[in-house]
């Protein structure tokens, strides 16, 4: 059994192999690496600390219990983890438990605990966040609006069409154009 220090040197994908063998220490390390990002995404979606904690806990428990299902060739562990958190967040929002409380505004509705910049990896992620922000800011308002409502708000394309009083096809078209533009921006303008 590898020691904790040895575990810390492993890449996520290698760590995940140990998680798949049922090693709780490997899982703990995985949580330490991605728990804050998972909680941040959940909080961004529901705007409520308690609900965000529930979503994060449910997501990680489901990751532990369905660990056999992770497939390395489908993408990074971080993307997989955040995909599951997003799915849980949407589920919570659609159950309408937290819709009325979501949208933590820029002013900050609740007490927040910003993640300290502890490691090089976190500094890198903050830089990455700036890049994604910049890509999002290049989108016209009508495209960023539907992306925001869908991805972070958990609304379906039909609900968004009703809210904005426009045809469903227009909503879907804006989603596509927005993602297309973001993709190009993230690729450095390469089509």
């Amino acid at each position: 059994m590898p020691r904790t220090k040895e575990l810390q040197r492993l890449a996520d994908e290698e760590l995940m192999q140990l998680v798949q063998d049922g090693d709780p220490r490997a899982f703990e390390l995985l949580y330490d690496r991605h728990g804050d990002a998972a909680f941040s995404l959940a909080y961004r979606m529901v705007g409520d600390r308690v609900a965000a904690e529930d979503i994060t806990q449910e997501a990680f428990l489901s990751i532990w219990r369905s660990r056999e299902r992770y497939q390395r060739e489908r993408g990074s562990v971080r993307t997989w983890v955040l995909g599951i958190v997003h799915h849980r967040g949407i589920d919570a929002l659609r159950r309408n438990l937290v819709h009325q409380r979501r949208r933590a505004s820029a002013e900050g509705i609740e007490e927040r605990h910003e993640a300290p910049e502890r490691t090089d990896a976190e500094a890198l992620r903050r830089a990455e966040a700036k890049t994604v922000h910049a890509a999002l800011e290049t989108l016209p308002d009508d495209q960023s609006q539907v992306i925001e409502l869908a991805y972070f708000g958990g609304f379906t394309h039909i609900q968004i069409a009703e809210m904005l009083a426009m045809p469903v096809g227009t909503v879907k078209g804006r989603m596509r154009l927005g993602l297309e533009k973001m993709r190009r921006e993230l690729a450095g303008g390469v089509a």
């Binding site: 049922g22 709780p24 428990l61 599951i84 159950r95 910003e114 994604v132 991805y151």
Partner: protein
């Protein structure tokens, strides 16, 4: 597949990636994705942007209590022979053995070792398994606010059941999952409870080939070998 069929789904790629389709639409789209090369290429191209979105979120620190509570559960489940140890081959063997012993002994054994799914659950691979041929089925239920989906991989090597809006099963009781072949019900090897918000899930280990349906009943804690009430939830697989 005709171009007309393709075009009907092609406009859903971005909505799917953003999680903006309903569960039924998403399941239908996933089935199309498994067959349509053009949509798969489009999906692969656009997913880069969708997967970048969570990276734009303001980073916050998760509370220590969350980590402690999560790891308490994980460590308990990781113990060899714990109630939540549930590798399919193990459970399959167990279920086979249960068939050979008396109901009373089997019920006690089941109480000791069968899988227990609790709040949060197991079946969350939908996002990760796009285009793999997984099928998601909606359940019929007698519960006014209840709903459930059953996700089955293409090779039917197990399944995952996710429930919502379910009332607690009652003191000393759990929900038990059954596999139906014709009119015969056999224990699926899965017991589950629901959280305060009525959600829960259960892993269904073992091969589902030849299984016509999945059902859920309320049973005494530890489970039983035969259903003692009419199912509160059924999924037809045939």
């Amino acid at each position: 597949m005709t171009m007309e069929q393709h075009e009907r789904y092609a406009e859903n790629v971005a909505a799917y990636l953003l999680g903006a389709l309903t569960e039924e639409e998403a399941a239908e789209f996933e089935a199309h994705l498994a067959e349509c090369e053009l949509c798969r290429l489009d999906y692969q191209r656009l997913r880069v942007a969708a997967e970048a979105l969570p990276r734009a979120v303001e980073p916050l620190e998760a509370p220590d209590s969350l980590r402690d509570s999560l790891m308490d559960t994980v460590r308990a489940e990781a113990r060899p022979g714990s109630v939540a140890e549930r590798r399919p081959s193990f459970l399959q063997r167990l279920r086979d053995r249960l068939g050979e012993v008396s109901p009373a002994v089997a019920a006690v054994s089941a109480a000791a070792v069968l899988a227990i799914g609790v709040l949060g659950g197991w079946g969350v691979s939908e996002l990760a398994n796009n285009g793999t041929g997984e099928k998601t089925y909606a359940a019929s239920t007698t519960l006014p606010r209840g709903s459930a989906t059953l996700t089955v991989p293409e090779d039917r090597s197990g399944a995952s059941l996710t429930v919502r809006g379910m009332p607690p099963p009652g003191a000393g009781r759990v929900y038990e999952v059954w596999l139906r072949r014709g009119s015969t019900y056999a224990p699926a090897g899965s017991l589950f409870d629901v959280g305060r918000n009525g959600t829960g899930s259960a892993a269904i280990p073992g091969n589902l080939r030849g299984v016509d349906g999945v059902a859920v009943t309320r049973e005494r804690r530890g489970g039983t070998l035969k259903p003692t009430e009419k199912p509160v939830m059924t999924v037809n697989l045939s």
